[in-house]
Amino acid sequence: MADLSELSLPLRLFLKAYPWRRIDPIPWVIPDKPVSQSRLALVTTAGFSAPGQAPFDEGFKGGDYSFRIIPDGIDLGALEEHHRSEAFDHRGLAADPNLVFPRDRVHELEAAGKIGSINHRHLSFMGSITAPGRLRSETAPEAAKLFKEDQVDLALLVPV
């Protein structure tokens, strides 16, 4: 796994002292059909925005809790990244957006019969949110409503 030792000392101390939000009770959905018959959507926290969309506000206190809708058919090279963290090497996702938003990979799995279908849209958040109150009360519920409208069965969520 990623190691705390790869992070700076101030960041390590911050993470150790941070009041992590515990999910309790833990919600649990038992899929009623196999993955090979299910509709899948992606969520990334890479801070991607599509052309024409406002970028994430990297200076927003507590972290920008909004999300962007990423069309499934987008040219991945057109995505812009606005993740405010300096704790990771951004060159990986710049070289290959599938590393954090595996749009092509899930389509390959769909073509191989492993996934039923891929949703026509996905979501990007910007993951560096230290104050997640409005994420939990506003934008995460909005995201869920959007995916329910799309009849999404399963979601794969990828952090950076």
Binding site: M1, A2, L4, E6, L7, L15, W20, R21, R22, I23, I26, P27, W28, V29, I30, P31, P34, V35, S38, V43, T45, G63, S85, A87, F88, D89, H90, G92, A95, D96, N98, L99, V100, P102, V106, E108, L109, K114, F125, G127, S128, I129, P132, L135, R136, A140, P141, A143, A144, K145, F147, K148, V152, L154, A155, L156, L157, V158, P159, V160
Partner: protein
Amino acid sequence: MCNQTVSLVAAELERRGIATVVVQLLRFIAEKVQPPRALLVPFKHGFPLGEPKNPELQREVIAAALRLFEDADAEPPLLTEFRPPGQSPI
């Protein structure tokens, strides 16, 4: 913080009836936050699916994550480690 963010979003999706699986890079955060289903990966920050331009490895990680949906006996929080192909379990 991304590990927490994906987990909190996942929890809301699950509350609305969408099954989720999150990739996690730091075990201690997954254990504190408790996402419903999590695949713990052995990669560094910024590289959650392994390596850029390595589609085979990326597909292996995703396939491992998707298998968590098909564990009929699973209970939350489900935390499973991804082992790269060729690596034997300890």
